[in-house]
Amino acid sequence: MKRMTRKATRHVNQNEGLIFEKSSAGKAAWKLPPLDVPEVDTAALLGGVERKDLGNMPEVSEIEIIRHFTRLSTWNYAIDLGMYPLGSCTMKYNPRVNEAVARVEGIANGHPYQPERISQGALLILKTLSECLLEITGMDAITLQPAAGAHGEMTGLLMVRAYHQSQGNARKKILIPDSAHGTNPATAAMVNYAVENLKSDSRGMVDIGALEAQMNKDVAALMLTNPNTLGIFEQNIHKIADILHAKGGLLYMDGANMNALVGKVRPGDFGVDVMHLNLHKTFSTPHGGGGPGSGPVAIKKALEPFLPRPVVVTKTDGTLGFDYDRPQSVGRVRAFYGNFGMFVRALAYIQANGPDGLRQTTEDAVLNANYIRKGLEGTYHLPYSTPTMHEVVFSDKLQAKKGVRTMDIAKRLIDYGFHPYTTAFPLIVPGALMIEPTESESKEEMDLFIEAMRSIAEEVEEDPQTVLDAPHSTRVSRLDETAAARKPVLRWKPTA
């Protein structure tokens, strides 16, 4: 690597095979207490369904397990190591007190079916979080049941469908802007709605003329992300809502980008009828390498009868309980009550912030994105000059002239000690570089990022091959994804 980077230095990390390759008969990491009831004859109890052999399950000791997973962990990049500017993913700090309180005995070991009388703690957590989220969104009612953002989208659209059905016509289609997340159309298909694309205008916003032309009584809802995936606030949001409402349609808001709005503006105040939140984005619950998420759905009064069962209610004696008697409910979308452990974390985050902290958080998130935009404008092509909220989208147009694409720049960024930004999304920007710093980055960290991005742009001019061959500093480089998909190897097998 020719250039020096201030952020990162290479260091030795350990090699480690698959756990199965360390296994040998007789090693163990477990010990059960002595059985205090009579031994049973398993063959007699189970007869033909007794299992004799567990195949190639590993046999290893505890120290090997600790080293195995610790070594693997050192091969990951993480928020705890540095800036993780994935656009649309809101990779903010995951506070450790959240983890601590989620592990308190009665919270971690609460059984979902334990009597309500001894579930008041959990019920109060559900109720308090619900109230906070309703105040933050300006909506009227909420379900916490969906397990992730996409699951929330499905739940929201099920309620949209149920609402329209109650009006006598379920309607046929959902309008989705061309800048939308892929989950939006996939969700619409899952609840049996046709998808109709809606074009963006030259400023990167919903084309009002196109919306007016496409809106009719077949349209159940518009699914809109606001700020949209370009990081642009839909300035005509009230007009959009009016156009939909005039013809009986509903406005669904994908809350993926709520980190730009909390404490500054409330979707319920600008005409949104249904929206989902991503607790793992805006409310700091950890991404954990890809889940668990949590996708509460907040709605306006008119949709309340359709909420999934059960809902938390205050009973006549003042205690909290679950109400299952909801005849118009869309039903259940998940067993039990949702990803409760994530509710605990999100509530702890809200408590740590308070109203002033949440507002400052939003302001810092938007400030950071604008600072990066300013720092990289000119170096990278900015396809939309409309003001930026919490994330900014550049394109690789300038670098593409040298044959370097967004993915190459992203891979080179790894050598500079950063996680890449989101590549090639949103789809309406060819060769997109989508950058979301979140509020968790200091000025120093962002200065390093800007410096790295500028340095890569210079490399593209002087020595594009270095960028095209990146990363140079990782354990593995440019894995063969085509071969992986053509002849999938999805599990380990013992060598014969």
């Binding site: 189970l46 009665g106 070991n109 642009i232 954990g288 109203p355």
Partner: protein, 460 residues
Amino acid sequence: MRYLPKSPADREAMLKAIGLRSVDDLFAPIPAEYRLNRDLKIPRQMAESEIVDFFRQRSRENGDGYTSFLGAGAYFHYRPVVIDSLISRGEFLTAYTPYQAEISQGTLQSIFEFQTMICELTGMEVANASMYDGSTAAAEAVMMAVRLTGRRSVVVARSLHPEYREVLATYATHQGMPLTVAGFGENGRLNLKELEKSITAETAAVLVQSPNFFGTIEDVVAIAEIAHKHGAMLVVSIAEAVSLGIVEPPREADVIAMEAQSFGVPMGFGGPYCGVIATREKYVRQMPGRLVGQTTDKHGKRGFVLTLATREQHIRREKATSNICTNQALIALMVNIFMTVYGKVGLKELAKQNLAKTAYAAGQFAKHGKVLFGSAPRFSEFVVQTSEDPYAVNGRLLGHKMVGGLPLKKFYPELGNAALWCCTEMTTRTAIDTAVGLVAESERSVRSGKEEVDVEEVAR
């Protein structure tokens, strides 16, 4: 605010660099009439010590210190300490979905190991990187069968977890998938005659759970034969993963939809848990969810990547196999570590202990109440029928800091005063004897009619 790494001077300098005077200028794109010009009405900013106190208090109000006999899809097993030590490492906890393979090999390799162990335990050829939970995994598995067979209707066992059934019904309604429910027989197993009658040429899938909701192990071989004879696929849901240590997996199934919570995941009042779908290699392209595959890098070194993404929403949009985006990676990691700790021998011994405790408890209960479905093998749950309302029985037990079995009236009114009891390796003989004693006492008092029982609604 303690999570924000900026001084007022930093903010000032940054605004100046951008060329703005105040933070308000950043929010100018939001129409003024919608801007919130007040504080949110949420709790004030709290110190860390106050937050910890708040949740400790909630914990005390939440069954802390009670001995429980509840199962029914959420099981209390011992969680080895190394699980939380390892998943608390920031490199696992605070990483994103492993799209950038070069700096995600830790997550990717661990998922590959997870997929392998799930295959070993289920007897299937491929397993995905996880699903939200057992209930949604079952619904997604059924939709997979619908795509594979080109048929639309589904036959569901009544002995499937009632909440899983409800979730499937929600998913099915708007897909225009007719559901037929097949009942259970005297032995608690799916009624095969009813199954035979319910299957038509339009049946895409038969969905059963084994061990089923009552803890009874289904005759998967016979069910598979009936399903396959009619060209339908067999989807088997497994809610108690520990059973796989001692119960033969449903190898005859076409798809297995699992809940792996028992493997090291806290009950956590119902979530987050870890669903998984496992199936045969030939069906992999219709399987929803993330998959990790092995490949090589440009130097020929072994490495792992997310693969077969062309099934997924970010590529296929409305034509995707599912809208699922995240999986439950961190929970799958808990499961992975649990499976590694117990391994080939430990999982079997663990399952045996569960079996022994349950056999003992069922035997003791049978002396004082009626234990249903005794003629078919069971794993760790059993149904006890009492003369007294199980809510009243549980009211008594609560006084002794015990939570009795789950009253089944809500889900199975036909079973009368029945409750679903569960034992695991965590259930002590003392606890079993005490609970049996209390149930026996209430049975005696009801029979003699002497004592007025305080029938309080204690469960939902």
